[in-house]
Symmetry: C2
């Protein structure tokens, strides 16, 4: 069956716990994780190559010039991008690659990789989302209001995603995403080689009868 | 999330073990199973309402006249059909209904229920399929040749199915089909109600901030 690696794009509301879910997916199921490049300064505890590939503006610009990103964007003062080489190498090896990215980046990726599987992690309901944002305890009301506004706007983008997975219980959420990825590998449109081979084999075998 | 029942259509090569897989799916995961109606005589051990709904030709004809079948067909002397009431009642209750049916019937169902999930159970390869057909020990070479020819022809229909699931190990196959059904319930296109509710809720909540 399907031997090709799949590109799995994961987005989700701010505060929904997508970072933790992605980390667990990689640990539990061994997916390859794409690490973004950025020009922003590392925060305390962040490791180059693990949290981000930290680049100077010149290095980043050079990668843009040489078509080194699947997609890139500028937020405030900083650049963020998805390095192309890692993703394409992993897909070529037949590995499934997970990419955690915000909505607009996800749309750019879908344009270039129509076979990519787009998963949006969401909360059971809006109250839960609000509680999680408040529960962090690190943000003031203004920041929470901004995130809720953004979540409200992102609802209209959810329909562009193939799947919506609720993060109510983290372990269930992670297993649900894994189910989605397994199921996608069974899609008939991803198994043309299998069908072609089966047809050739059956043609030979039935002639012997 | 998705509260609607889904119609799961399962087909597969003769000899691939789809009957056993469907039986196990129903036992293990509690899916509702649609039982076909037929005018053929019960075989030894077959139970009315479990294996088939056994009908007279008059009863069957009456059901056709009253639009009682999702699809029906005549093979040799006998009629076979999928009763509509059971399927629609179960879907309305939010239950997932499994329907085991051959390729042409599956296509008719997809026309009437575009949201149905079509799964084709296949063998790891053509040699395995041949061995399974031979291994039954009940069929002569002529029958096996006929089934292999039919399998060869059915390859071209596989692409009409949403998913191809290999039956190599029965338990794996059953769990794979269950994964597919779970994953389908996460499709954004099946969760419009959830998105609509979430939008309304977020609209209210963010106003309070």
């Amino acid at each position: 069956m399907n031997k090709n690696g799949m590109l799995i794009v994961i987005s989700g509301f701010s505060g929904v716990g997508k970072g933790t879910a992605v980390k667990k997916l990689v640990e539990k199921y061994g997916y390859s994780l794409s690490v973004s490049a950025t020009t922003r300064a590392p925060r305390v505890g962040e490791v180059d190559g693990v949290d981000y590939h930290f680049k100077t503006v010149e290095e980043f610009q050079n990668l843009i010039d040489y078509n080194g990103f699947i997609e890139w964007a500028q937020y405030v003062e900083n650049y963020y991008g998805t390095p192309k080489k890692f993703v394409e190498d992993e897909l070529a090896k037949g590995n499934n690659v997970i990419l955690e990215i915000e909505v607009q980046g996800a749309m750019h990726i879908k344009e270039q990789y129509p076979d990519a599987v787009l998963i949006f992690i969401t909360a059971p309901d809006a109250d839960t989302l609000k509680e999680r944002l408040e529960g962090r305890g690190t943000e003031d009301a203004k920041v929470i209001a901004k995130r809720l506004k953004r979540a409200y706007e992102e609802i209209d983008d959810m329909v562009q995603y193939d799947y919506l997975v609720v993060n109510d219980d983290l372990d269930v959420c992670v297993d649900d995403i894994h189910s989605v990825i397994c199921a996608e590998s069974f899609r008939s449109t991803r198994n043309n080689d299998y069908m072609r081979n089966m047809k050739t084999e059956l043609e030979t075998i039935r002639k012997d009868y």
